[in-house]
């Protein structure tokens, strides 16, 4: 690659050398008999070295300082932006947490209220049931009493009717005890 470049340059060099051959003067660059050819190198050394010193000691550090100041300022701004973003994120998280907490609290109080209402309703329902049961039992007792009374009256009616029927049919007086026994037997058989 470098060899190729040198070859191309050699080709370029042919152009001036063709002119050079015609002129018979040679390239001024290769005229080392001319004291100026080497004196320019001495001045080159002085100028180049001075330029190097001025650049390395004075000019370039200035540029570097400005670039560094900019880089640090950008870094500082980025840091500030990052911390601001972190703060904003924290605030958002706090807000979310507060919302969630409020939500949970509301849910809890709603469910407590619902439970309390349910319990109260259950108590009321039990009380009402008990009252109804009591009334039912009283009514049943009344019915049973009425029934028993009715049944008692029925026996008296059956006794007198039996006495009357037996007296009419037979004309004989039957002992009260026998009649009672017969009526009781018949009633027991019917109830069975």
């Amino acid at each position: 690659m470098r060899g190729l470049a040198t070859l191309v340059q050699a080709g370029f060099l042919l152009l001036p050398s063709a002119v050079m051959a015609e002129e018979k003067k040679g390239m001024p660059q290769l005229d080392f008999a001319n004291p100026l050819t080497l004196s320019q190198v001495v001045w080159l050394a002085i100028i180049f070295f001075t330029l190097y010193l001025l650049l390395s000691r004075w000019a370039l550090p200035q540029v570097g300082a400005v670039l560094e100041a900019r880089a640090s300022r950008i870094a500082g701004d980025l840091d500030a932006a990052k911390s601001a973003k972190a703060k904003a994120d924290a605030a958002v998280a706090e807000l979310k947490a507060a919302t969630a907490k409020a939500h949970a609290e509301a849910q809890a109080s709603v469910s407590t209220a619902v439970d309390a209402a349910k319990a109260e309703a259950a108590v009321q329902a039990t009380a009402a049931n008990a009252q109804l049961d009591a009334q039912l039992a009283a009514a049943e007792q009344r019915i049973a009493a009425a029934r028993a009374a009715a049944m008692g009256a029925l026996r008296d009616v059956a006794l007198t009717t039996t006495v009357d029927v037996v007296a009419r049919l037979t004309g004989a007086a039957v002992s009260q005890q026998n009649i009672e026994q017969a009526v009781d037997r018949a009633l027991a058989a019917r109830a069975a």
């Binding site: 470098r2 470049a5 040198t6 340059q9 050699a10 370029f12 060099l13 152009l15 001036p16 002119v19 050079m20 015609e22 002129e23 003067k25 390239m27 001024p28 660059q29 290769l30 080392f32 001319n34 004291p35 100026l36 050819t37 080497l38 004196s39 320019q40 190198v41 001495v42 001045w43 080159l44 050394a45 100028i47 180049f48 001075t50 330029l51 190097y52 001025l54 650049l55 390395s56 000019a59 370039l60 200035q62 540029v63 570097g64 400005v66 670039l67 100041a69 900019r70 300022r73």
Partner: protein, 250 residues
């Protein structure tokens, strides 16, 4: 410049003293005057460019920072972290050669990079620096550079001379590359410009035909602008590569 029938393409490279009798007494050439102007422009760019020290740079500051950042990036990319030490030298080298190439494109100026003595002196500085750096970092171990590790011992008589010649030819190729590119461009300018004058002198048809070399020279100016940047870049990036070799030994 162009007499009838002959083209003096090389007269432009003739050295003369400048700055009058004082310059003549110390052999201060017009080449050195251009060097002074180049150095002044570089320092002026950095001084006036960086004077605002603005956070958001203006045009001149942006140019100065671009030059700084470009060369700094080249140093760090090519040499590595140690490249920062050589940054001022590479920056001086790059801007000095670039300004020499660019100033040479101005009419009536002088291209100091078209002198082999100048380019060879610069290349020699580079090679001496590279060798000193390599010796100071690696000591005598530096000489292992001429025999790559892992190469068969049998080939040593072949490899070592080749490596030494390749090492020593670095300043030659470095200096001739820059010198030849600059000379070739300026000779072509002179030749085509002479064609313009010669054809224009040949009558109205020649006047019309002279447009051809004129157009060519216009195109050539653009091309030479590219070459001016490219050669300064090549010179400094090769210096960086040599410095990388010196710091890391392959």
């Amino acid at each position: 410049m162009a007499a009838e029938g002959s083209i003096d393409a090389l007269g432009q490279f003739q050295l003369e003293t400048s700055l009058g009798a004082l310059g003549a007494s110390v052999h201060f050439t017009q080449s050195n005057l251009m060097m002074l102007i180049a150095a002044g422009l570089i320092l002026g760019l950095l001084y006036f460019g960086m004077r605002p020290k603005a956070i958001v740079p203006g045009r001149l500051q942006a140019l100065a920072e671009l030059a700084y950042d470009g060369v700094h990036g080249m140093c760090v990319d090519q040499i590595g972290h140690e490249g920062k030490k050589f940054f001022p030298f590479i920056f001086t080298l790059f801007t000095f050669i670039l300004l020499g190439n660019l100033l040479g494109l101005l009419p009536f100026s002088f291209t100091y990079t078209s002198h082999i003595a100048v380019t060879f002196a610069l290349a020699l500085t580079v090679i001496v620096l590279v060798t000193v750096v390599a010796l100071s970092i690696h000591g005598l171990h530096f000489f292992s550079y001429f025999f790559p590790a892992g190469a068969p011992k049998l080939l040593a008589p072949l490899i070592i001379p080749v490596e030494i010649i390749s090492y020593l030819s670095r300043p030659v190729s470095l200096s001739i590359r820059l010198f030849a590119n600059m000379v070739a461009g300026h000779v072509m300018f002179e030749v085509f410009a002479s064609f313009i004058v010669m054809m224009a002198a040949a009558g109205s048809f020649g006047m019309l035909g002279a447009v051809g070399p004129l157009a060519l020279n216009v195109v050539l100016v653009g091309f030479e602008l590219l070459v001016a940047f490219l050669q300064a870049y090549v010179f400094s990036i090769l210096t960086c590569i040599y410095l990388h070799d010196a710091v890391h030994l392959h």
